[in-house]
Homo-oligomer: 701 residues x 2
């Protein structure tokens, strides 16, 4: 409600709080990101140490049992958390956050329980050795943190704070959540600029210049928190926490001059990335639809699915390296070879001393370390082409079947792993024909596959540059990304858009569809319209609230309050509930605005937090009260946005989307009819809705 | 006009052309950027060589004469170009491009003549030794190139191409110009990601996701063009073109752990940058207002002003180094010391062999080289504190008095120079108390001063990182930028916003002013409204076009064509002119739409290029024709955006701004009156307009 302007002190409170909140979001997201990393590194590190120690003693079967046992145990815990406590925490979370910021208030996406499950589920899931990342979940976590802080605790748990009333509206909450998502990316990749760009390019539907400035501040805080915590850990205070956490890969190959063959290779990698990426999206979509059927049957099925995927993954990780031969350690290395411990480039596995198993170095490692190994540029013959091929095939398939099971699972890491392995294959195949390093080829492969699946450009580019800390590769990465995105866009949409669509979320695109040009706003207005008089009988309102699910009702002034019936404005369901709950009814049909206003404070009508606020069931209205009247004017928004019924639907859609509306009143062109024709909502602009009404006009998809 | 949908082949033509154009913009901007650099390096290099050779022979007076003579000559050429051919080319150009993309069609901002003068004027101006940069002008140049390509040559010079008809509309042109501006930044700083972010943060008023992708492509092309051309020049094919062009500074000091003193120093630098930056903006504003008075008197005064500033600059550059003492060359250097030639860290000046003059190394160099010297981290005692103080004072003052004279002049370089020098002073003063390098302090100083004047955050940060190729400094740069921007925002607005305001351009802010909440749309609608009937007498239209300067007229259907008077839509001045020129008049008052449509092609109504298209004076209407009628329906936009007169002005302003409208129809709330109350245009939302109408409501600024 805009109808009360604020005092100076309130404006100060507001600005101060907004910056404090942003600061807190940065701090907590940084802490959570760090905690995630420590958790994964320690749990997975323990598991890998156990396995490799058993293998050193030659107890191969026990080693497998320990390895698979740990994996299944962690996986089951994660799945149980997801299935029983917060089903919304499964998956990447990026599509959900994207949909939320598009204006879709899906239930429990950002609830505190989701946050908790997301954090612990993600740690357990990644530790369980799945081919999943913790990056997508970090974004969701950041958004949850922002939501939790912004609403001042949860009303459900009776933790709330008075000052935070200012943030109980859509706009401020959206801003905070955008900051949270950016902080999540920044914490996941240690990429502050990349986080801002990611939020801008992929997450946010509405962007304001002020937001750039605010997200930037948040990600800067995250970067500083992480930096100081890592400094703290260097002293060995964080258990097994090693280099692997908080990935920062050094691809230090100074890019020398590249020749024509290199450019051709780049183009080829780009095209390949586009093709593989769109195929990946297609398969992920199919698998998700299959899994959706299984998951619907109940928590037990969800957990069973997770367990079977976990066993399959363990078999691959432990079984496939047996097919790879032992390679003698190269001489003159600074690193230890073979590495006995937890991570490292040269895993001993079953090999004799002085030899290493290259496939085990990729499979029997945390995903972060595997990526580091793939990106490493010191020893270009470190991995056999056959090894890389097996690894690529394994990761590609496992990535597809893993996404969609009931654990928090990010898509970034599987995609980077697969991309980096085919990039490195390519680099090895070219050999000395190319001036570029195999590590660089891995990076370019990862870029191309990221471009092919996620279809982002600038943000991926910047994130990769921040990850590898080498700006000179910029033009090469840009080129590869552009090609792979262009190729993949021919076949299908980006993976996040696909998931949003598959989940049936009514996502509003930024542009209008061409067929909307042939329709006018009046054509798609739905059904018989319910409207209230300026002073309405309580019974009518209760009835309307009970039997419809509309969130907005037009209010029409009728004689004797005006000469002719005219549109007074729009009233929201939630405000009606608050008003009815206040019980300021009158016996007669009279204006009683001042009376009502004195009773309420403006913030009583503010949007509640994650809870649904006042529910219809909470209302207690007596029979007698049902016959009384109430003046709706005080809670009516008297200047709703309107369009004439003959307005082109395309133009109405752009208006609706650009201004971020929830209701758009359609008024008649001719005078002398009812003063409102209908109300357009988000659903009226959906492809499915229009194609039901006008099947001949809308192209099939 | 949206009223004809396109055929498949046309859509293909459109997409193909759009990408081709973007490619061409990237290529040409890259080439122009390179040409600029070669020009500056060779001309300024020749001048500096001449001067230093004369000095080596001890002919100090002749050296000064040659130096000052060259400077004045180049300056006069640049000023003459600006004053006589394209006055719009003076200044940075960034505010103008920003205003253009906000929807202000100021005359000749992007004309081909402006482009030419901008390129050559900028080369001459920078070569003349002014404290100006070529970066701002590069942005303007990129935008001009985009405009020129997008409109398919200039109609004025009869160069045009049929396919380009698709780009004769506001939206596509705006997209192309945004790409051009991004390409300009990318070419100026060799910062492709920075260019995209700069366009997003500072230049563009409307941003779409598709645009990110397109600007990114453009800047990638620019980066590749520049890279290959520099490779070509390494062979020595480009005259005196050396390292100085296409700045890329290596601040290779690995950032070690910083301590508390460092952080305090950073905060201090940030605050100082904010204070100095806002003072700078204030002084630039004052000086610009003074210069505006002088410049209005005619070209001769403009040139005289340029000449006097040039002489003053020459005196400073040549005179001040005499006050600095000679410093013995440090031993064990890889570079030659003193450097006799054109550029270098250790300028000989008047000193004996084995000594160098540190102030001359800054003043008697191109600006790019001076920045490189300030950023250099090899020898922390290279410059005396007193030297740096003199240089800072000189550059700060010269920067203020130089901006605003009639040459193309960028603000980036003066700001970076001044910032880097006080940063370095600070680094020297701290000495061994700090772990950070003096070169790094220079960089942070530059960042703080940039943040204090221009108030951008992410884009400056990324540009600086791309310039120095060192990502590890990211958190430090971010912190400094945030502090300086916050401090400076207390005092005044960013320098570009100030200039836009000073030039009186009606720039629409993204947010509504608070006082607009207390007004409704009907309150600010201006004056008696002129409207046409659906079928209107030619004489009335001609009269209206002649005696008003309105660009849009409402069309009202009256009986007998409809039952009651109702709003049919909006018709644009330019379309009316085309229609009248077609002379499809009828004797009677009848509908003749099909007749008219057959006569015109949709693209006849397309927005013309830089020219004004058909002018009113070109119309020849006989007395007899004046009495005839014409059907306006075919050219009427039948679904204009409308607001009810009781709509809050703040909401109307947001609608107007977000959708990028030029006209917004205000319709009455009550029926039974004229079907339109008025039309809101950009000017009706301006602070000045409203404060004239309602002085008591609007706070004074």
């Amino acid at each position: 409600q805009d109808w009360r302007s604020r005092k100076k002190v309130e404006i100060f409170q507001y600005i101060f709080l907004k910056w404090t909140l942003v600061l807190l979001i940065g701090l907590s997201t940084g802490l959570v990101g760090f905690f995630n990393n420590i958790g994964v590194e320690n749990i997975a590190g323990f598991k890998l140490l156990l396995t490799s120690n058993l293998m050193l003693d030659g107890k191969y079967f026990q080693a497998f049992a320990a390895f698979a046992g740990c994996n299944v145990f962690f996986a089951t815990c994660a799945a149980a958390l997801c299935a029983f406590i917060a089903p919304a925490a499964a998956g990447s979370g990026i599509p959900e956050v994207k949909a939320y910021l598009n204006g879709i208030d899906a239930h429990s996406i950002l609830a505190p329980s989701t946050l908790l499950v997301k954090i612990f589920g993600s740690i357990l899931g990644v530790s369980a050795g799945f081919v999943v990342g913790k990056e997508g979940p970090m974004v969701h976590t950041g958004a949850c943190i922002a939501n939790l802080l912004g609403q001042g605790g949860s009303r459900k748990y009776h933790l709330t704070w008075k000052w935070l009333k200012y943030f109980k509206n859509d706009r401020d909450r959206r801003d905070l959540i955008t900051c949270g998502a950016a902080a999540g990316v920044a914490a996941a990749f240690r990429a502050p600029v990349g986080g801002v760009l990611f939020a801008l390019e992929e997450i946010a539907s509405w962007w304001r210049s002020a937001l750039l400035w605010r997200t930037f501040f948040t990600t800067a805080i995250v970067a500083m928190v992480l930096r100081s915590l890592i400094q703290f850990c260097r002293g060995g205070n964080c258990g097994l926490f090693g280099q692997g956490g908080l990935i920062m890969f050094d691809v230090n190959s100074g890019v020398s001059n590249y020749n024509t063959i290199d450019v051709l290779a780049l183009i080829f990698i780009g095209v390949l990335g586009g093709l593989l990426g769109s195929l990946y999206n297609y398969l992920v979509d199919k698998v998700l639809r299959t899994y959706a059927v299984i998951n619907e049957r109940g928590p037990a099925f969800k957990i069973l699915l997770v367990m079977s995927v976990s066993i399959l993954t363990s078999c691959c990780s432990y079984g496939l390296p047996w097919f790879a031969g032992c390679i003698p350690c190269p001489v003159g290395l600074e690193e230890k070879c073979p590495t006995i411990g937890r991570s490292g480039n040269y895993k001993n596995f079953q090999c004799p001393a002085g030899h290493y198993n290259d496939l085990a170095s990729l499979f029997l490692n945390t995903n972060d370390d595997a990526i580091r190994n793939l990106f490493s540029s010191n020893n270009s013959n470190e991995f056999h082409i056959s090894t890389l091929l097996i690894f690529f095939a394994g990761v590609y398939c496992l990535g597809i079947i893993t996404y969609g099971i009931a654990i928090p699972s990010g898509l970034f890491i599987p995609v980077i792993l697969a991309g980096a392995s085919y990039g490195r294959i390519f680099g090895r195949a070219l050999g000395s024909l190319s001036n570029l390093n195999v590590g660089l080829f891995s990076l370019l492969g990862a870029a191309s596959f990221l471009g092919g699946t996620m279809r982002m450009t600038v943000s991926i580019c910047v994130i990769l540059l921040e990850l590898t800390n080498n700006l000179l590769m910029l033009p090469l990465v840009m080129l590869v990304l552009l090609i792979s995105k262009t190729v993949a866009d021919i076949f299908n949409k980006g993976v996040y858009d696909q998931i949003v669509k598959m989940k049936g979320l009514p996502f509003l695109e930024a542009h209008a569809e061409p067929f909307m040009r042939n329709l006018v706003a009046g054509d798609v207005c739905s059904g018989p319209l319910l409207s209230f008089s300026g002073v309405e009988k309580v019974g009518n309102i209760v009835h309307a609230l009970k039997y419809t699910r509309h969130n907005g009702f037009p209010v029409i002034d009728e004689p004797p309050f005006s000469e002719t019936p005219e549109l007074c404005g729009l009233v929201l369901r939630s405000h009606l509930l608050v008003l009815l709950n206040g019980k300021k009814f009158t016996k007669q049909r009279v204006l009683s605005a001042s009376n009502i206003l004195s009773r309420f404070h403006a913030f009583d009508f503010a949007k509640p937090g994650s809870g649904k606020g006042l529910k219809f069931e909470d209302l207690v209205i007596t029979e007698e009260e049902m016959e009384m009247y109430i003046d709706l004017h005080p809670i009516t928004n008297t200047s709703p946005y309107t369009v004439v019924e003959t307005m082109s639907l395309a133009k109405a859609a752009i208006l609706f989307r650009q201004l971020g509306l929830r209701h758009l009143c359609v008024v008649p062109k001719k005078t002398g009819r009812a003063p409102i024709v209908g109300i357009l909502t988000r659903h009226d602009f959906m492809h499915e809705h229009i194609s039901n009404l006008y099947p001949h006009l809308v192209p099939h998809k």
